[in-house]
Amino acid sequence: MKLVNINKDNFNNYYYLGVFLIFLSIFDVFLNSFFLINVTSFLPGFLSFILPLVIGFVGLYFIRVEHSGIKNLDIINKNINTNNFNAILTLLIIFTIIKSLPTFLNWFIIDATIVGDSKEACTGTGACWTYIKIWLRRFVYGMYPNAEQWRINLSFISLTALGLVGFFATEKYKKYLTLYYVVIYPFISFLFIYFFISGGRIFFDFSYGIIAAAVSIILGFLIPNKFKLYYFLIVPITLYILLKYVFFFEEYIELGMIEGLVWVETGAWGGLSLTFIISFFCLIFCFPIGMALALGRRSDFPLIRYICIGFIEFWRGVPLITVLFMSSVMFPMFLPQDVYVDKLVRCIIAISLFEAAYVAEVIRGGLQALPRGQYDAAKSLGMGYWKMHIFVILPQALKLVIPGIANTFLALVKDTPLIFVVGLLEIVGMLNLAKTNPEWLGFAMEGYVFAAIIFWIICYAMSKYSYNLEIKYKTER
């Protein structure tokens, strides 16, 4: 049954009427939700409520012409206006968005407060961003002393800069990039975090290392190529030993001539910076461990295979929170009395092993997806187990499982708040702490929205990056 016959010839008349009706309906809802004006208040309640839907529906019905020749109209019809049911769905979605926008905007921006520096500034009904502003330092740096926070900033800026080296490397140095990112970069990061952020006297070991490396690199330009290898094997280490044991300027601290970096114990680290530190190291460690486990699980040697299966199934079978708890409570019991492993280190080990089991299963999926012919071909060319896996099998398998690995990594980042069970407070932990501060009761909502936004940015960046990798390594077709 067709009420009006709309076809290609006469659609022009209906088209303008249809567009007009649609805008009318949207305008009505808009007035209603933004300015609380009910234009159709003279009608009975229910009718007034449903009227925009009816008008919009009729409008959409009028503009629904196949192959009208107007490009945008065709796109709309094809995507959101294919039949009556879809037309109603479209309208409902548009109305819901318009209806919910004002509430959201009011809370988020219009009624929100950001000025002032105490709870009293927040008088409006909206969000109290003052709270975030005041606590921002704590959310980012945790309990790290204010005066020392430049160390975290400097470390993170340097590490970001060093991490971007890959983008600027010329063809000549491209082949060293893998080595750089797999071995050198994590090592440098470790040095920065262990010596620089941690500080204390131990920092001097770090500074000796830096001085030794810098001096020997500068001198290295003067050395002929023939002796460079020996030079770099011997000189930096010698310099380091000289600095440490001959010049030792640690003594100057005691004499009061130089001020050392203040020791900040890991318990005081926290907030977003701790999230980054933990995620970074866990990502770095869990990947190779997972890869080894995946290969081990497919090994021909029963002993290795069963150890790997047992390991994977154990870690996959226990909740992360219990693992962390055990790492802090049970693990020290097995250690000798005078051995102390730092809380943060224990956490990183626990999370790495836990996630490694997941990564292993993801990678195993990729290994199993490869056709047997690839193994045959590699073997027939005379490659042994390691060459075959490094050059033929793993590159293909890892490429296949990029989405799966990204998935696991995202889960890892979002699991980091669980370290609160051992008393380490990263960003969510700091929120929970701030929330219970008697000065600032009642702002949990703002805190969680803030944390959600931060986590979303981190995770979205990671997922975008993984998607880019997928495209970059796509060589089939």
């Binding site: 056709p371 012919g373 690839q374 045959d376 071909a377 590699a378 073997k379 027939s380 060319l381 005379g382 490659m383 042994g384 060459k387 050059f391 033929v392 590159p395 293909q396 490429k399 390594y473 060589t475 089939e476 077709r477």
Partner: protein, 244 residues
């Protein structure tokens, strides 16, 4: 009598309870071209996969170029490097370009300098006439081109023996010829070849001997002309009448 490069003695092999190879005896001399034919499931592929130990035989003895293949063989990779193999499904490495496919093994297995390996690869790609595709990826090539690349890849290891496992069975008819041409050229250059194929034209043109296998046994082995002119066994006659 010259020393055979491949010696297979009383080889038996089972897949579970099913015996795929029964008492295989075969000797191949250097520079000989052998074509192995027979119905599917007769164990032809298994036989040549045993020669570079992609499959393990359970009984008997296989000696390749003076090295016996057994569980204790330490230098199996070295032996495989001397035995090139071409597969039915090409099995090129899809994540590497054609050139890299060819240079991978020479560089990492034979420790050849990269420059030399690339030169060698280009020579072999030239021979199979796909040197213009060297920087493409396998996925961008036709089946015939991929198979010729696979031949070039195997040749880059400069093997003493080449094994072909139904190299044309997965190809469109019009692409079969280009692959066979490459194989004929190779045969004329004097390579020792064992070819499992159904292409009887190819067998007639290049093979020195033809082996007919059925149900895991070598039913008949004869000089090429003899094989096609007057086959002895009834099973061979039946097979030839069906395939020709």
């Amino acid at each position: 009598m010259s020393n055979p490069i491949i010696q297979i003695k009383d080889v038996n092999k089972w897949f579970g309870d099913f015996q795929v190879l029964k008492n295989i005896n075969l000797e191949v001399e250097k520079n000989k071209k052998i074509v192995v034919c027979g119905p599917s499931g007769s164990g032809k592929s298994t036989l040549i996969r045993c020669i570079n130990r992609l499959e393990e035989h359970q009984e008997g003895q296989i000696v390749v170029d003076g090295n016996e293949l057994s569980e204790n063989t330490k230098n199996i990779e070295q032996i495989r490097a001397e035995v090139g193999m071409v597969f039915q499904q090409f099995n090129l490495f899809p994540h590497l370009s054609i050139l890299d496919n060819c240079t991978l093994a020479p560089i990492w297995v034979k420790q050849m300098p990269k420059k030399d390996a690339e030169e060698l690869a280009m020579q072999h790609l030239e021979k199979v006439q796909i040197s213009d595709q060297a920087f493409k990826y396998p996925g961008q090539l036709s089946g015939g081109q991929q198979q010729r690349c696979a031949i070039a890849r195997a040749l880059c290891m400069e093997p003493k023996i080449m094994l072909f496992d139904e190299p044309t069975s997965a190809l469109d008819p019009e692409m079969i010829k280009e692959v066979l041409d490459a194989m004929v050229n190779l045969a004329k250059a004097g390579m020792t070849m064992i070819v499992v194929t159904h292409e009887m034209g190819f067998a007639k043109e290049v093979a020195d001997e033809v082996i007919f296998m059925d149900e895991g046994m070598i039913v008949e082995r004869a000089e090429t002309k003899e094989f096609f002119a007057n086959p002895k066994s009834d099973r061979t006659k039946l097979f030839l009448s069906q395939i020709l």
